[in-house]
Symmetry: C2
Subunit: 82 residues, 2 copies
């Protein structure tokens, strides 16, 4: 994960790689399901063979402990795709 700032807000981001578009989209859906379950939503950039996941919290103007927990849960989901 790398951390960077957008308009004064801290975000964390990681690029995940997959064998094709279909698998990348399946990962996007799995992370989307987690997001819905936790009511906390990332930005998910799906491309051929890769997904960029970005977590941050609007209401606190940047990162919150919950973003780090969501990042850890995203890692767990990724393990199922390896």
């Amino acid at each position: 994960w790398c951390q960077y700032e957008v308009k004064g807000e801290q975000r964390i981001e990681r690029l995940y790689q997959f064998k094709d578009f279909k698998t990348a989209l399946a990962f996007t859906n799995a992370v989307g399901e987690l997001a819905e379950a936790e009511s906390h939503h990332p930005a998910l950039l799906t491309e051929w063979g890769k997904v960029t996941v970005t977590w941050w919290t609007h209401t606190v103007g940047g990162l919150h402990m919950n973003d780090l927990i969501m990042a850890a849960k995203t890692e767990e989901i990724f393990k199922q795709f390896k």
Copy 2:
């Protein structure tokens, strides 16, 4: 749709808005299904209530007629989500 250049490659992009994350993700999946069917893949940025769709063609270093056709088909899919 707006057109812009990334590293010398022309791309076309449009932002679509939805009522929530779930509907945005359903749209991402519908465009992903089209992409798989046509073997031509966009970048799909899914966020809460919005999806940014970007089409371009790597092999010709920018836009190809097919990207414009895919953009038109994306519009057709969006109509089903309104």
